[in-house]
Symmetry: C2
Subunit: 519 residues, 2 copies
Amino acid sequence: MGLCRYRAGMKHALSVTRDADFSAWYQSVIAEGDLAEESGVRGCMVIRPWGYGIWERIQRLLDDRIKATGHENCYFPLFIPLSYFEKEAEHVDGFAKEMAVVTHHRLIADGKGGLVPDPEAKLEEPLVVRPTSETVIGTAFARWVQSWRDLPVLINQWANVVRWEMRTRMFLRTAEFLWQEGHTAHATVDEARAETLQMLEVYRSFAEDCLAMHVIAGEKPENERFPGAVETYSIEGMMQDGKALQAGTSHFLGDNFAKAQNIRFQNAEGGLDFAQTTSWGVSTRMIGAMIMVHGDDDGMRVPPKVAPWQVVIVPMLRDQPEDEALLAYCRDLQKELVGQSALGEPIRAMVDARAQKAATKRWGWVKKGAPVVIEVGGRDMAGGNVSVIRRDRLYREDGKLDSVVQPRGDFVSGVEALLADIQGELHRESTERLKAQIVPVDDWAGVEAHFAEGQKNPGWVDVRWAKPTGEELEQVVEKLKGLKLTIRNAPMGQTGCDDGPCIFTGREAVERVLIGRAY
Amino acid sequence: MGLCRYRAGMKHALSVTRDADFSAWYQSVIAEGDLAEESGVRGCMVIRPWGYGIWERIQRLLDDRIKATGHENCYFPLFIPLSYFEKEAEHVDGFAKEMAVVTHHRLIADGKGGLVPDPEAKLEEPLVVRPTSETVIGTAFARWVQSWRDLPVLINQWANVVRWEMRTRMFLRTAEFLWQEGHTAHATVDEARAETLQMLEVYRSFAEDCLAMHVIAGEKPENERFPGAVETYSIEGMMQDGKALQAGTSHFLGDNFAKAQNIRFQNAEGGLDFAQTTSWGVSTRMIGAMIMVHGDDDGMRVPPKVAPWQVVIVPMLRDQPEDEALLAYCRDLQKELVGQSALGEPIRAMVDARAQKAATKRWGWVKKGAPVVIEVGGRDMAGGNVSVIRRDRLYREDGKLDSVVQPRGDFVSGVEALLADIQGELHRESTERLKAQIVPVDDWAGVEAHFAEGQKNPGWVDVRWAKPTGEELEQVVEKLKGLKLTIRNAPMGQTGCDDGPCIFTGREAVERVLIGRAY
């Protein structure tokens, strides 16, 4: 049973390391781990079974939390008439430059063996493929809401959306992506803002508990708000290259969309008020974030809670009559495992009985990031043992693969704790990394020094600021742009900031914000 | 506690009966049961929480069966380049007339306060919004399949698709709809055909077991095949107005798509073969079918297995201090119920604590079709009782609402059997109706007589035929068209047909086919 590395002379399963080229490494994790691939359609990817399986786990777990907070799922149209957009000026400005537009509803032969849109079938009003659904859902809310008794309306949908991005990167920025978008309407500003913060907290705790990804929840600066929002909040994750990735947003929209879509209700006193609305979403981008948080030079490491298979059992088949007994032993083990629970759900265990070399299968699952890989050879079976590889700690100190032979019964009785431990370890690593990579800085010179050229992995800085707005903020943004920096967010839970002035304006600081490079 | 009917003078909760106007009744079930509504976007509907909740149940249960038969979920692009379609001539002919075409990727101001597609942002190659994904998935299969070892490829996706229908009807025919589409590739014709029939059987048993809908599985005649298919199979349901509804299809595609998309593999002997492919799908149409199979003049009746809530508990709140104790009693009951299982899953029970009149809530749930509605008033609580309404048998023989006062403990211990009984009764009704509405007919004159004008609910006829093809079949189709009839399918499991000649050609019959009017 070969414990040697994947290929002779290679230290790790991937041909490129994070250190050598983080961006190439990212693509390589996706390709080698069979997560997704280019589709041949501009900007659109194919999400392969392992990648989609992770998305299904995200959907299942997040959907439970969205429902537990009182929201119901609906489905709204993919197409949005142009006129719906025109009503909210800021919103349309934010999206007009990247919208896919449907103009025809039929094709005809072009006379040269090909097809063209039929000029006779031109739509009177072009339809936009939804980049987000505030306008079309707001139109429905306007029908549903007449009285304060109809409020709140708490809706979510799981859907595909399209934003015509010029430079795309799998999972992070694709023309089409999958997401959930929550939309709610409330009678008062306080309720709507409480909803916005509640969903921010749902996202934060989901990222921590399920994705094992430490994130910072906070408010975005004015210039980073969702088009049409009054306040935008985000969760920001720390990637291993020190860049930030916005992994979810929650928006308080005030009455901007209610005015544009005419969502009005009779209040308890008989007067007519506009509703206060919110929206919030996370997308397949989360998978990109997880890759850059948990992946290593051997590929992806999927946290057990969102792993499609938590335990993969690989029988060392040899195309011999003994194979049958080996397979039976493995299936028996699988049956034992799926009858048990770990992390609050039945264990997801499978037997990889494909006719491939055991080493190829092992390294395939390592690259995919299955949390636990069990190998069973004839000797293991004879001794009632299994060989256990945990993906989060692949190597021993001497650099050899850490495959531990264990009595099968011990493995089974310890698997619940093992999976919980892997989940916890990934979270601990992510938390430590984030904390280590945020540095408090006291002035602009400090920021410049921190992000000076040649600093490979500078992480973020944590600075005081006076929360400037308008033109003053624009100047700050320009200044940061020179260093390729953006303000990520102002972390929640701050109780003032009195240890010095704003590093940009010199005025009294009101809070601290995080600044870094970002995806 | 009013047991009187919904509104004075009305016999039923809906204002239109099936008998009076089946089509208006259908719309009314959807509207009054809050299943869906027009969206304002041409041909697209909004699926509301109760309707979407049914779809989520369908997804969950069917997805389990699709995975249990070895398929994995993926996600493929929404957009398909025109050139992908041009490769399969029959396929493009079948869909070109109803495709939404994206031609631009940006909007600009039109100078009159509105927006128009930016002429500078015209796509070089128009993109079609997928009407079905054989072409784009086939292109991926061509990348994935090199050797016989890579086969079979067994893939499914849950997605939205768009077909530009001119006359739309909610759930049955909408421009955008939701579905699952399975796509597989195999080394041999036998394997691919076996897969096609396996998935037909998955659909059939799912419709029977989960939707409580008796259906006939069989092969479609040549003229009803999916564009590009070698064989098409369907399940056909019997609606209460005697019309057929095709509720799912499974296609054996031969090597037609493999040739168009170049899905080739090296066989075990070293030669190069084209793969044999299949595709199969069911959609939100199933919800339309369930409405027309199970609905009655009081609205929808949802089979317990797919009901978002199986037991709805309605406290008879009176805006009095006693309300609190009543609510506690109801929540306690809910807790007891959700801790139990029925039909193989934890029971889905909720308390409807909204500030509305109890009668309004009761009839709201009746119209939605919740299988069991429990009402609890002060007197019920004092006696340790509940009042139970089962949706499948709403009225007593004397025409009064059948609300049965029962000791709470009896209800709880009997609820598992009750839900199973309701599921079974709906299925029994559907089976009996289908069987009663199919009549064997021996010749064309018999068909004409059966479908003569004025026959309100003729159902289907079951006739012998010689399975004509080509021009001969076209003549049959034309003849049937005169009576607004179509051949639904030739039921599976036939072992020949030797009791007389084909009713169309007079030649020796080879099988029996079902003929009827259809949605």
